[in-house]
Symmetry: C2
Subunit: 270 residues, 2 copies
DNA sequence: CGGGCGTTTGAATCAAATCAATTGGAGTGG
DNA sequence: CCACTCCAATTGATTTGATTCAAACGCCCG
């Protein structure tokens, strides 16, 4: 597949940095399992809290509406109450790239804080409601309510961690697996928001999905066909924009299968 | 090359969201040129401020030392005073991916805030000094000093914006261009920190560079050879770990050339 | 009903991965 | 100091996964 290359040097863990705070190292192995101290709030609770504390201006948007665009002066962060959105990056030479997909509970606009202007476009892909949080107002409210600041930092942290995962997918997974992983992530995102995950509508064209995943629309189409052929997904009668995912686990398994070197045909029978 | 596909829907800018704050849209075109309201502080000033306000614990690290690793309980952010560091992501199935490179003035550990545990490894690639900022201490100090909070948010914002740029590079640039763009970014990072940029040492092996850029070590090697052949870079006498970059602009130009469809051999002569 | 997308699928091509062989330092120890 | 090993890097030959080019289909909408 792509690069399974080693990236490690001598893995010598440094002397645990004095003892500024307790908390045992908790090795990597132990980490993957449970989500014990995960984000303490549900998305609904978070939105309620933000609504109560900030009484943000609410705006209804429709497919194609631009929430903000690259170069525009930064002034506010946005919180999505409903709808589906894409984040599009544009380079000086006309390259264009979907770098993120956002839905209910997600924040928009972090990229604008540092340079005082947004560095990408945020576009609605559907009807939805956006809450406007002027940055100054937010900072003032955070001074009163520490939990609000925590919320904000967690959202930014999540975004950073997720962006890195995206980069890893693009760099280490073959096309088929990337599409499967994309569907898995999408299904999980819907599940997190209490939406049905066994069947849903892709709100993007093959071209948009391909752009997001770093491949052509034909490759996306072929990957989806293969997934359907392998019974990992299924299309509804109503066109190929709706997918049925009986079992999300099957998608992860498919990714694994893509990574498996050579199947070593029937090892027991050999 | 890769996907030059369109990712846009109907580009209808929404009704500028009332008037919560002034600040004209300032169209994208106008944005790229100047850096007028950019980060108001130099890296040195920022470090001084952090040092004065927080008097952080300082730690000397050596190549291979692990600052923190995936799964470890989150407790502190880190600021780099010197040295070179890499951020390595690891997936459940053994895939390993360099997702970031950090140097003086950069922060480490943002990824740990949301899940209360780090989600990647931070590894020193060289001798350096790291400042430890316990997150609780930082929050307390931010309550006193709003400018400190601004600093923090700007750092997170920059990281988000940069991660998106990385994703775009990987998705839209062919291998040669990606290597050139990597060198360009590296040179600019060094320039920002007042280090010489006409000649420097790559602190990574071809395998590490390739892993970071999503290609094999052979491809990196070929790309570098090509860049040298085209006189965009040069190697020093002292081995091929040191590169000479007479003109950073030449690297951007090279990227452009890679993107140009077909040169249309000598259009005037045709 | 016809035009315009978005999608699917096949065939040809190409860029990058893989496989393989060689070179070149850096470090070690006789 | 030189022989030796080890590892990084280079370069060539070959394979392959994905793009490109092309044709055809299905669907929505006026």
């Amino acid at each position: 597949m792509l690069n399974t290359a080693t990236a490690t040097a001598s893995p010598r863990v440094i002397s645990k940095f004095g003892s500024t705070f307790s908390g045992a190292p908790a090795a990597r192995a132990a980490a993957n399992g449970t989500t014990e101290a995960d984000s303490p709030r549900s998305i609904a609770d978070t939105l309620k809290m933000l609504s109560d504390l900030l009484a943000p201006q609410r705006r209804v948007v429709h497919a194609g509406d631009v929430i903000y665009q690259s170069g525009e002066r930064f002034g506010a962060l946005y919180i999505l109450n409903s709808g589906f959105f894409k984040i599009v990056n544009q380079s000086a030479d006309g390259r264009e790239q979907v770098v993120g997909l956002k839905l209910r509970g997600d924040w928009l606009g972090f990229d604008g804080i540092a340079r005082r202007q947004y560095s990408c476009d945020a576009v609605a892909m559907d009807t939805g409601e956006v809450w406007v949080i002027p940055y100054g107002t937010l900072m003032a409210a955070c001074a009163e309510q520490a939990s609000l600041l925590t919320l904000l930092h967690e959202a930014m942290s999540r975004e950073i961690a997720h962006d890195r995962d995206s980069l890893m997918s693009v760099c280490t997974l073959p096309a088929d697996a990337r599409v499967a992983d994309f569907l898995r992530y999408w299904a999980e995102s819907l599940a997190d928001r209490g939406m049905r995950t066994d069947q849903f509508t892709l709100r993007m064209t093959r071209a948009e999905i391909g752009n997001y995943l770093g491949m052509t629309l034909e490759t996306v189409s072929r990957a989806l066909s293969k997934l359907a052929r392998d019974k990992v997904i299924a299309f509804t009668e109503k066109g190929r924009r709706d997918v049925k995912i009986a079992d999300v686990k099957a998608l992860s398994d498919f990714v694994q299968r893509c990574l498996a070197p050579t199947p070593t045909p029937v090892p027991t029978l050999q």
